[in-house]
Symmetry: C2
Subunit: 217 residues, 2 copies
């Protein structure tokens, strides 16, 4: 039975399920039970069944789950086949790293714009996209209507940039800067990748290596 309000914890486990299902498929496996998947992933079979049951009934009693079908269902829930588009704001090292190495297509996204404010990169070609000047941003957002902007510029400019993007009607932001965007009162969706937070968390567990958990996200 589908649930109306789905917890954030459940949502963040979905991409992880997807990774494991992918790996099983690559290993030639086509069917799995919640207990086997739980054993592999280090979580309980109960949790897996509860999680899936938020969205529908994807298994078969006495059989388990067909991996291909389950994967498709989860991809559907995450909206991976929506053909979304993204702008990258900031063509520095991090922006280039994403453009060059991140599998946007596999995640249902297509890069359709790269912007920077530095005169020397504007006009150059990175990964098949011509870098445009940041002054063209608002026009471009209104014209191309990307689903998200990826903030890979210095943190100092992040909030001003977010404001411009939101004003131009952008629905989502993938934030790689080390600041929390001030978005109260807007309905933009923000997902943060805070490197510092992650490293500091690692630092904490290093300190307490004997006592704490050994693998945390």
């Amino acid at each position: 039975m589908k649930k109306s309000k789905i917890s954030h914890n459940v949502i963040t486990r979905l991409p992880r399920y997807l990774r494991y299902l992918d790996e099983l498929l690559r290993g030639g496996q086509h069917r799995i039970s919640s207990s086997e998947l739980g054993r592999i992933m280090g979580i309980t079979a109960s949790q897996i069944r509860q999680d899936f049951s938020c969205f529908g009934e994807f298994g078969q009693q006495g059989y388990g789950y067909t991996i291909e079908l389950l994967k498709q269902e989860i991809e559907g829930i995450l909206g991976i086949h929506r053909g979304r588009t993204a702008f990258i704001i900031g063509a520095g090292n991090l922006g280039r790293a994403l453009i060059g190495n991140f599998p946007f297509e596999k995640n249902g996204f297509k890069l359709t714009g790269v912007f920077d404010r530095a005169g020397d990169v504007v006009g150059t070609d990175i990964g098949g996209l011509k870098v445009r000047h940041i002054d063209e941003l608002e026009t471009a957002v209104r014209d191309a209507a990307p689903d998200i902007a990826i903030l890979t510029m210095p943190g100092g400019a992040a909030n001003a940039m977010a404001g411009r993007l939101i004003d131009a009607g952008l629905p989502g932001i993938w934030n790689f800067t080390n600041v929390d965007l001030k978005i109260a009162g807007t309905d933009v969706i923000v997902q943060n990748v805070h490197f510092s937070d992650s490293l500091q968390t690692l630092s904490y567990y290093l300190e307490r290596a004997k006592a704490g958990p050994e693998d945390e996200d």
Copy 2:
């Protein structure tokens, strides 16, 4: 009163507290109450006081918290002044982005080695560090005894690399590859930065923009 077992949720909030305290200090503020901090951060004052009370008594009744002191306490808990060292494994775009832009020092880390397997980058200088060949890794880990290795190489090689590092006695791994490292049976500490998971979570909330929460990590 200090608590013996501290939940992961509490730990992951500590870096976020630190960011807000920093911002307040930069704004010239020196004192704050749990209720004011809660209002700014969008959490309850109760949660803030509960979180801090896991580690000690950092405030003063009737007054609140001295921001400088509170910040120092949290930095201490996270082990930020430990003078930790790190190797980067993979001198591609992402590795260079971290070397060039990430404030390791502010997070208590110092880069002491960069490794790659590609002949053309080995021997070159990146951010003041000479890139060494991956074959020298084990020797270097034993000699320099870094606290962590930062995996910024292709995911396909991640598990083999993690195995080598663990065998050489490395305590921690900051994993930027899109795979879950198989570390069962070891006592290495792993912290993951899974870009894909983050983007897929964003994708989910874009789909359900009207109903879901608007700012999630």
